[in-house]
Amino acid sequence: MDRDTLHRFLYDMLLARAFEERAAEEYANGNIAGFLHLYPGEEAVAVGVIHAAEPSDYLVTTYREHVHALVRGIPPRPIMAELFGRCDGICKGMGGSMHLFDRERRFMGGYAIVGETFPVATGIGYSIALRQLPEAVICFFGDGAVNQGTFHEALNMAALWKLPVLFVCENNHYQIGTEIHRHSAVVDVHKRACAYNIPAEKFDGMDVINVYEATRHALARIRAGNGPQLLEFETYRFRGHSMADSGSYRPRSEVKAYAERDPLKTVINEAEFGYPTSEQITAAGPDVISRLVDHPSAIDHFDARHVEQIKQEVANIVDDAAQFASQSPQPTIDDAWASLYGNRQHETLMEDAQHG
C-alpha cells in the first residue's frame, strides 16, 4: 500500500467520523430532523470499496449514505446542507439525509425502502452492458435487505445476463433491532449468491485495506466480463439504527468487542506501523537518525502527528460545512414545483394541470 493511498483512506475515514458525529450533534440541536442514520463503525467499507472504483463507475446506496457521498467526492457543504433541508443541499432540500443524489458524480441515490438498491443497480448494469461500456455499478445493501424479493429477482437477472454489477453487503448484523440469526435462516450472506451462480466471498469489513483489495479484485473480474460479483463485509455500527434508536438491544460485550476493532484504530495502526518512536530514534544515536526516518517514509508510513493534523483539518471542514448549511436559505414551494417538473423541457403541459 503506497503512502498516498493509505493517507487518502485515513483522511476519508476521519472526515467520515467527524461528519457523522457533527450530524448527530446538529440533530440534537434541532438543525437536522427526520430520520438520520449514521455510519460510525462502518467507515472501512465505504472508503475501501469506493476508492477501489473508477469515477466512471456508478454507485447505488442505502439510506445510510452520507459517507459514501463524501468518499465519492461530493463536498461536505452540500451534503450537510441537504441534511439541514436547505436550498444549497445537493438535492435542494428535496431529498434529505436518506436521498442524496449527484448525477455528475454518478451517485445514483440513497434509497430508503430496504431492497430498492438491487433493481436500480441491475438496471444501470443493464444499460452499461447494452451499450458495451467498460463501466460497472456498485450496489450497497445491508444484511436485512437480503430477505426482500428484489434481492433474489435482481441477482437472478444480473447473473442471467452477466451484468457488470458488484453487490456489496454491509453486514452490520442487525436489521434495526433484529439480529441476523433472528432474521435469516442462512446467516452467511455471501452463501446466498450461489443460488444464482454469482461468485461471492466474505471479508473483514473493519479493515479498510482488506476491503479495498477485495473490491479491486472483484471489479477486475467484472471488467473482464465475468458478470456480477458479490462481496460481504462484516462490520458493525457503533450507534443505533437511527437517531431514534439507542441500540440498547445489543449485548454490551458485543458493542465493546467491536469498539476495540474500530476501523479507524485499525487504519491508524496500519499507517503508523514501522515508524520508529522518538525513544527508538534517540537510542539509535545521531548517525542513524536519518536512516531510521528515511526508511519508513520509503515504505510509505507516517507518524502520529500526521493523524492529529488530519483530525484538525477535518474538524475545520466539518465546522465549515455546518456553518454553510445553517446559513443556506430555506427552499420555497416554487423550488419544490421546479424539482418535480424541471425535466419537462421539451413538453408544454397546461399551466393549471401542472400545479394541481
Binding site: Y58, V60, G89, I90, C91, K92, G93, M94, G95, H99, F101, D102, R103, M108, G109, Y111, I113, E116, F118, P119, V120, A121, T122, G123, I124, G125, Y126, S127, I128, A129, L130, G149, T150, E153, A154, N156, M157, L160, W161, A336, A338, S339, L340, G342, N343, R344, Q345, H346, E347, T348, L349, M350, D352, A353, Q354
Partner: protein, 330 residues
C-alpha cells in the same frame, strides 16, 4: 396516408419507429421477445433489434420494472411491458417509490424517461384477479403521468409521445381494445399527449369517459341522437394531468355532466372528475353531475354477472336520458 390498423398493430408500429430512431429505446417484459408479446404488441421486434433491446424477462415484475428505473437513470428510454395491470401490484414500489419520486427527491437532477405499458380492465371471464382497473391508485401519485388511449390512432401517437417524454408515464391499455380497428395516420400532427379529445359534439349533455368506456359512450351518443338528445362525448386520453379546460368548456355549452368509468365507483377516477368539475363549473351546471361506474365488488367469473358488474351502452343511454330530463320509457 391513413391506414386501418388494429390497436396492437398501432402500438407495434409506434414502438418499432421509436426503436429505429433512437438507440436508447429498449423494451422488456415477460414474453415480449421470442414469443412476440401476449397481445402481439412487440411482434417482430426481437428479430429486428435483438435480445438486448427486446428483452424477455423472468417473472419478476418488481425486479424488471425497477431495472427500467435504473436504466432510465443512465439516460436510456426503457419501455417496460407488464403483462397485465394486475401483476403491476408487485411493481408498485418501483413505480410509486422510485420512478415517481427520484426526479423530485434528487432536486430535479434526474429525468425519468420511463414508460410502463400494461393492459387492464374487464375482459372475458378472467375472474377477479385478472380483471382490475387500478387507475385510481396511480392517479393519486404525484410525479406519475397516465395515458389511456382508446383508439389505434391515440395508441400510436401517445406511445410515441410517452417514449419521447422525460417524465415517467404509465400507459394503460385495455385488453378488449387490442383487436379493435381504426384509422391511423402516421403523418398527422398529434395533439399534446394529455389533451382530451371531443369525440362527438353535442349540446344537451357532456359525457366524460376514457379508454374502452369512451368508445361505448360514443356508441351510446349515437343511440341518444335517435331520441333527440345530442350528447357531447369527451375522451380524456390522459388521467394525469387531466385536461380540465376542454371539460369546462363543454359544460359551459351543455350544463349537464355524466361521467362513465369501468373502474369501481368508490373513490375512483370519476370521483375526482366530478369533484374537480363541480369546483370549476358549479355555476354552469343545471343538474347534479351523475356517475356510472363498475360495481364495488371484485369482478365475478360468471359471464352474466361479469357483464352486469360494469357499465353497458344501455346504462349510459338510460343515465343520459334521465340527466337530460327525458323519461326512460319516453
Amino acid at each position: 396516408m391513413a391506414e386501418t390498423l388494429l390497436y396492437w398493430q398501432a402500438l407495434n408500429r409506434a414502438l418499432d419507429l421509436e426503436m429505429s430512431r433512437d438507440e436508447s429505446v429498449f423494451t422488456l417484459g415477460e414474453d415480449v421477445g421470442l414469443y412476440g408479446g401476449s397481445y402481439r404488441v412487440t411482434e417482430g421486434l426481437y428479430a429486428k433489434y435483438g435480445e438486448w433491446r427486446v428483452r424477455d424477462t423472468p417473472i419478476s415484475e418488481g425486479g424488471f420494472t425497477g431495472l427500467g428505473v435504473g436504466a432510465a437513470l443512465t439516460g436510456m428510454r426503457p419501455v417496460v411491458e407488464i403483462m397485465t395491470i394486475n401483476f403491476a401490484l408487485l411493481a408498485l414500489d418501483a413505480i410509486i417509490n422510485m420512478a415517481a419520486k427520484i426526479p423530485f427527491m434528487s432536486g430535479g437532477q434526474f429525468p425519468m424517461p420511463l414508460v410502463v405499458r400494461m393492459p387492464g380492465g374487464v375482459a372475458k371471464q378472467l375472474a377477479a384477479q385478472h380483471s382490475q382497473r387500478l387507475e385510481h391508485t396511480l392517479m393519486n401519485v404525484p410525479g406519475l403521468r397516465i395515458v389511456v388511449p382508446s383508439t389505434p390512432q391515440d395508441a400510436y401517437w401517445q406511445l410515441r409521445q410517452s417514449i419521447a417524454s422525460d417524465d415517467p408515464i404509465i400507459m394503460l391499455e385495455h385488453e378488449l381494445l387490442y383487436f379493435e380497428k381504426g384509422e391511423v395516420n402516421p403523418a398527422a400532427e398529434p395533439p399534446p399527449v394529455h389533451q382530451a379529445s371531443v369525440r362527438r359534439e353535442g349540446t344537451d349533455l357532456t359525457i366524460i369517459s376514457y379508454s374502452r368506456m369512451a368508445n361505448l359512450s360514443v356508441q351510446a351518443a349515437e343511440k341518444l341522437a335517435e331520441k333527440n338528445i345530442e350528447a357531447e362525448v369527451i375522451d380524456l386520453r390522459s388521467l394525469n394531468p387531466i385536461d380540465w379546460d376542454t371539460c369546462s368548456a363543454s359544460l359551459k355549452k351543455t350544463h349537464r355532466l355524466l361521467v362513465v368509468e369501468e373502474d369501481c365507483r368508490f373513490a375512483g377516477a370519476g370521483a375526482e372528475i366530478i369533484a374537480n368539475l363541480s369546483e370549476r363549473s358549479f355555476f354552469d351546471l343545471d343538474a347534479a353531475p351523475v356517475r356510472i361506474a363498475g360495481l364495488d365488488m371484485p369482478t365475478p367469473f360468471n359471464r352474466e354477472l361479469e357483464a352486469a358488474s360494469i357499465p353497458k351502452i344501455n346504462d349510459i343511454v338510460d343515465a343520459a336520458r334521465q340527466l337530460a330530463g327525458q323519461n326512460k320509457t319516453g
